[in-house]
Symmetry: C2
């Protein structure tokens, strides 16, 4: 294949910068598996996906997760073909401290939903999966019943070099799952780095899961996440903890009421449940349905998705421009020097930035 055919929509220079293939060990392990997976033409993938074939869906997601150049080309073609079939779902983000019981909650909600005739997909964003050798998120062993449910589909987080790469693969997997008929998509994350912000930017409803403490339930959660949440769920409201859970519910309800309304007009709720004892689970789904109806009626639902997509494009543009900039010869060292100059109060942020831009213009204009 010549250069253009390899990457019709992706300049090779740009592509090489994104994935950093040499850093991704699991790819080497899976390489043989994946080359086998590419045997299908994108039209065959599409046919299988749209007919609801879970095996083909899984292979397609593996294709999307691959960093190999020919896979990226095929994946790009497939995703574009799937877009018209996508979108008919509700996308629910779930975050919370480790130990909050997210997996148990997703299992309980998932079972309720498949019983109601829904098709439920569970994805995850866990950029630390590389380090922890396999993510505990989206772990089928923690969702045993859902894992064997014909109408549920569980996928662990892609392992990748960067949060940006993981987020992109997840967004694309959402489209594939929706094209395959999954109408409830859970995206789970823990509070690592900026992963909550990444999940928040790709879902319709963002759920924060806490466990009853003594007012310190948000320990371990990043600041700003509380004001992002569409609902706060106090899990493990069972046994000795029921009283503390109700107290926490009251405290968070009060706090949420003090906050300014979100753009949707929806007032975030705090509620309790016990995923383990299957208590309070239908109420969570009812709340999400209410949110969905409310925001579809006032147009916010679609508007939010549109804004997310346009924002994602602009952010990707900025990231790629920054990458081109930093990869221009000599610029990385100049940037480091500029930061040192700023820290030693030799220049202002602005003059340092403008000097760097001028250097860049000079070096790229020769």
């Amino acid at each position: 294949m010549d250069e253009d055919e390899k990457n019709p929509g992706f300049g090779l220079k740009v592509n090489a910068g994104i994935e950093q293939p040499s850093q991704i060990n699991p790819d080497a392990i899976d390489k043989i598996k994946r080359r086998k997976a590419v045997n299908l033409h994108s039209d065959e993938y599409l046919k299988g996906i749209v007919s609801g074939d879970r095996t083909i869906l899984a292979r397609a997601i593996t294709l999307v997760e691959s960093s190999l150049d020919d896979h990226r080309k095929s994946a790009g073609q497939l995703i574009e073909k799937c877009i018209p079939y996508s979108g008919k779902s509700i996308r629910i983000g779930i975050t919370g401290v480790p130990g909050a019981g997210k997996s148990t909650l997703i299992e309980a909600l998932g079972k309720l939903l498949t019983l109601k005739g829904h098709k439920v997909a569970v994805l995850a964003i866990d950029p630390s999966s590389e380090i922890s050798k396999g993510s505990i998120l989206g772990d089928k062993t923690r969702m045993e019943e859902l894992a064997v449910d014909r109408n549920a589909f569980i996928r662990p987080s892609p392992s990748a070099g960067t949060l940006g790469g993981v987020a992109r693969k997840t967004r694309e997997s959402v489209l594939l799952c929706e094209a395959a008929g999954f109408d409830v998509i859970f995206i789970e994350t823990v509070g690592v780095g900026q992963s909550e912000t990444a999940v928040h930017s790709m879902v319709d409803f963002f759920l924060l899961v806490l466990i009853p403490g003594g007012g310190d339930e948000l320990q371990g959660i990043k600041r700003g996440i509380m004001e992002m949440a569409d609902a706060i769920l106090i899990n493990k409201a069972e046994g000795e903890n029921i009283h503390r859970a109700n107290e926490a519910k009251q405290n968070y309800t009060n706090a949420l009421h003090l906050m300014p309304p979100s753009h949707s007009g929806w007032i975030p709720l705090a509620t309790t449940c016990s995923a383990l004892q299957n208590q309070g689970i239908p109420e969570i789904w009812d709340m999400i349905l209410k949110y969905s109806a409310f925001t579809k009626a006032n147009g916010y639902f679609d508007r939010r998705r549109e804004e997310q997509d346009v924002k994602r494009m602009r952010k990707t543009l900025q990231e790629e421009l920054s990458r081109l900039f930093e990869q221009t010869e000599g610029m990385a060292e100049l940037i480091r020097q500029a930061e040192t100059d700023i820290q030693h109060k030799r220049v202002t942020s602005y003059s340092a930035a403008y000097n760097l831009i001028n250097e860049f213009i000079m070096r790229t204009s020769k």
Copy 2:
């Protein structure tokens, strides 16, 4: 003057993009005034500023606010000379809904501080000042006593085309005020667009001012501001409102306690005052002193300033790169088309962004 001399540190192409001088009417009106102001050489400005000459400080800030090319050159030189004299202050951001009594509060705090021997500067960020024909922020008629205090310096918001421009001029004015010996700098803003975020990014302490309501005190404040605040102040705790003010104080204290700790380790407080009746004002200053001592002891104070400056440089770089990108011939139309394609679900955000980058690379490589 030849091209290089006009803009030694600023590529003309870059500079022309920032200020959009043709949009700034007040400059035409002030043009004569400003050309007069440029009569001083930057060394003379520096001498006057460092000796605490308020008239020269005012003229220097006028110079910094000017968009004229020769002024920008002189301003750049002056600012660089002032940097070694800057930084010895505490920078306090003040935001709140219109009518919260920010001006009265700044007057009360300012008077307390000048009595204690401090030198107090009051700046403002109000990007709407262009529209409202003069900002109500930093309005001397609302701070009558402080306006005639020899140890206070009040400056209304620069009027400018963009928040970015206003924010930059304000940051640079902060450096000039500090070089002139002002050791307490207030920066006031209202909740217009992203101005709170801009102020938060240039201060040491961020104060949110509310008035007692029925739990709706944050109406009109953007989401996310509450978690940015280092303290919440319930003003107008007087007369019939004392009870509601104390209730609000309790509610916000509870809410703030639920939130995760900030990176500084400081637990934000909620407190009441009546700026009009001069009640609770020394307590506010004591709290700020506590914050200052606490964060200087654990290193957070300096670290935060350093991070703000480095972040500002990186953001300015991104903004300038985006501008170069959008100003490249034909790109603006392609970007608009890409957004339409995304909204009509013809392409993903990622493929749209990569296509645009490739177009850009092609057009700039010819």
